[in-house]
């Protein structure tokens, strides 16, 4: 297992799920980190830095997604992004 790796399961807080606005805010923040970040819902795993990929998850409010990061700033990224996902970003 590489040194810098972090993972967390979060419950989506945004009213419309990971739709345009919440997804855009989330992806913009994800892009600010060096590490590679994925978002998984059920068996589907996507690149958290691509808005169209994130939208394809069709994740709704109250659903659980798994955030995974690997790279230097993985832990900071997970802290920040998990908090964002749990908020209502509408």
């Amino acid at each position: 297992m590489p040194e810098h790796m972090a993972e967390r399961t979060v419950t989506l807080g945004s009213k419309s799920g990971l739709h345009a606005r919440p997804a855009a805010i989330f992806v913009q923040n994800a892009k600010g980190f060096q590490c590679s970040i994925t978002l998984t819902k059920n068996e589907k795993k996507v690149n958290a830095k691509s808005i169209l990929s994130v939208l394809t998850l069709g994740a709704e409010q109250g659903e659980q997604v798994v955030l995974h990061a690997s790279g230097e700033d993985a832990e900071t990224a997970i802290e920040k992004l998990a908090a964002l996902l749990e908020e209502d970003l509408e």
């Binding site: 345009a20 808005i51 169209l52």
Partner: protein, 150 residues
């Protein structure tokens, strides 16, 4: 380097993204592009590719094309709240589509009656930068809306 023509997915008048009354699009947080004030009733694929996302309510869709090009068409603003009312899906998510393929039929007057603005952003979320933008009126599946250099 390749130049990719992104066709207008809607009949209507081209509007700058910055003047769309929704920050997430106006500030280009989703991506760069243009909006269309539609005059027709059918949204078509702006490029050939895979229809990777067609929202259950039919109010938005995304296409993955070659060279890492990705486009999102959002029909109206905040239209997710309509939960499909005013929209009829004409294609299936996951389907391969050619530019010009009908994707969603919409009823502008019904959508406006429900209090939504029909201005529709068309944005690039993948590779490429916009090197040409259309202005004035455009015809769906026929006129170039913008050109991406990849």
């Amino acid at each position: 380097m390749a130049e990719i023509d992104v066709l207008a997915p809607l009949d209507g008048t081209v509007v700058e993204l910055e003047s769309v009354p929704d920050d997430v699009f106006a500030q280009k947080m989703v991506g760069d592009g243009l909006a269309i004030d539609p005059s027709g009733q059918v949204a078509v694929a702006p490029v050939s590719g895979i229809l990777v996302k067609l929202f259950p309510g039919g109010h938005a869709f995304g296409i993955e094309a070659s060279d890492g090009v990705e486009l999102i068409v959002h029909l109206g603003l905040d239209t997710i709240e309509l939960k499909g009312e005013g929209f009829e899906k004409l294609a299936l998510e996951g389907q391969l589509v050619a530019a010009g393929t009908p994707i969603v039929r919409f009823d502008r007057s019904a959508i406006e009656r429900l209090g939504k603005v029909m201005l529709s952003p068309v944005v690039t979320t993948g590779s490429g930068t916009i090197v040409y933008c259309a202005s004035g009126t455009v015809q769906a599946g026929h006129d170039v809306l913008f050109v991406l250099r990849v």
